[in-house]
Amino acid sequence: MSQVAEIAVDVQNAVKRYGDFTALKSISLGVYHNEFFTLLGPSGCGKTTLLRMIAGFEDVTEGAIFLFGTEIDALPPNKRPVNTVFQNYALFPHMTVLENASFGLEMLGKSRAEAKARAGEMLELVQLSQFASRKPAQLSGGQQQRVALARALAPSPKVLLLDEPLSALDLKLRKAMQIELKHIQRETGITFIFVTHDQEEALTMSDRIAVMSAGELQQLGAPREIYEHPQNRFVADFIGETNLIEVTISEVADGRAKCRIGGGHVIECDAPGQASGSACLSVRPERMVLSAGNASGIAVPARVVENIFVGTDIATWLKVDGGPEISVRISNSARSTIFEPGANVFVNFEAGAARLLMD
């Protein structure tokens, strides 16, 4: 990435209302030039609406959208130098693959020969040159996906918008396409805005992720930051697996809080500024270990309920004395000790592994 990052897409206080229903509640975010930016959230969170507002398929009820400093929110889609890869690809069924890929350039007034030549290059980029004269219906899902990509890239858009482009593919193909997409993004240097509901996909591919829920931006940051330092309960729960433990804060001093778990056990951990009253403690299952005796650091007594085999790991469900049920992931290797259901154990974790969330 460049040293002084230029902002490609700048969304300022964008609101979208459909009658009484508010789909987006004042979203502001900036997407850097050359970035792989992901809008992540469950269905109905407004991520696709935001993408379609950038593309020009939805009006902006309030607020503004800028593309490299130019306000674009009043322009029709055909006047915006951005292109979209649609969720169902929307390949024109009556045109060949090459005609699909050259459509945008033809519409921009390029000569047919020039458009075809550039489209041919793009098909080469996605390794589909040999299918140029086929109709979309004669291609597999993965191939159609790549045609859609070539078609959207051919006019050299300033920003490429991808609306859940991989959701229709099976798992194996999806993994391969994730790598290919990332590769093409690096090679072309075009800013990608990618919409997905799959948090794993978002973590794998993105430079930065905007997590959205119920029309609001929950957190914006690099994948690792979002995973390790979720800002609220929604993000902690939505990204990866976690244990959310209800606690009562009894005392805050020097940025540390004393939190009481249901049964009376007290844990000390880092506290955000406004910590007080009841809160929620998020601890990832893989950041905890089980031991028979009282080890150093935090140790919470619990009883094993059940062990569930999940391949690489064993998920152990435990009941904290007088408190909630939690799960701990133990790597499935010869060195790990597995405790039988009914055993009384201690759950150990570093203070840094626990994150105190106020909402």
């Binding site: 029709p76 889609p77 055909n78 979209t84 069924p93 945008g104 921009l108």
Partner: protein, 268 residues
Amino acid sequence: MKPATNVRAYRGFFGITLLCLFILYAPLVVVTVYSFNDSRSITVWEGMSLRWYADVFVGPESGKFKEAAFNSFTIALVAATVATAIAVTSATAIVRAGRFRLRMPSLGLITLPIMVPEIVLAVATLIFFNSIGISRGYLTILIAHIAFCIPFAYLPVQARMQGLEDTFEQAAMDLYATRFQAFRRVLLPLMIPGIISGFLLAFIVSLDDFIITNFVKGAGVETLPTAIFGSVKQGIKPNIMAISTMLLGVSVIMVAISYFAAKWDNTK
């Protein structure tokens, strides 16, 4: 599938279906067969012959039938073409232009000609032409046919358009096509099966019409149905059966084209 365990099957329904098909086809088959009868009388069978087909083209009434056929087919062609064009533009407004206050009233107006009984529409049209002083003839038949063909052309066109996702046009506009280019280059080609169905239905409905034509045709101008009706009033003659069989052939060709148009899904 054992019938005893099949909760769907009802004994007797197959028989009723056959009866149904028998009732639908028996009259047509009988007329087709008797159109090849060599006899001058319609009651006695005297062997195979094409004489009544020849009679239609060169017989004493051939001039009348040729003129009627010309009128029928040119009116059907023009009326179906105009009605289909109107159907395509209005379906685009109703299916592809969001919600607006005149949307449902427009749909109501478009389907009005099939809600109003044909005889009522015939009376109304006659009164209308009479009150504005247009004399009845070829033109009045044509205008009336365009009007009542619109809903028949419209319904298949609308059905097809609703079946097409609008992401195709959105993709076109995303790729810098103007609204008109998106219509011309993407929506219209994808609409072709629906347009063919709508056109054929309108064509056949126009060719079929008797009542409205009978009211607005005026003296001297005949279409095939009015000419046949006038002739049948004096008794069914073998040449009428020959004409009927030929028209039946036209219908079967139309229905076959329409069947393949409906099956032809050019989005696949």
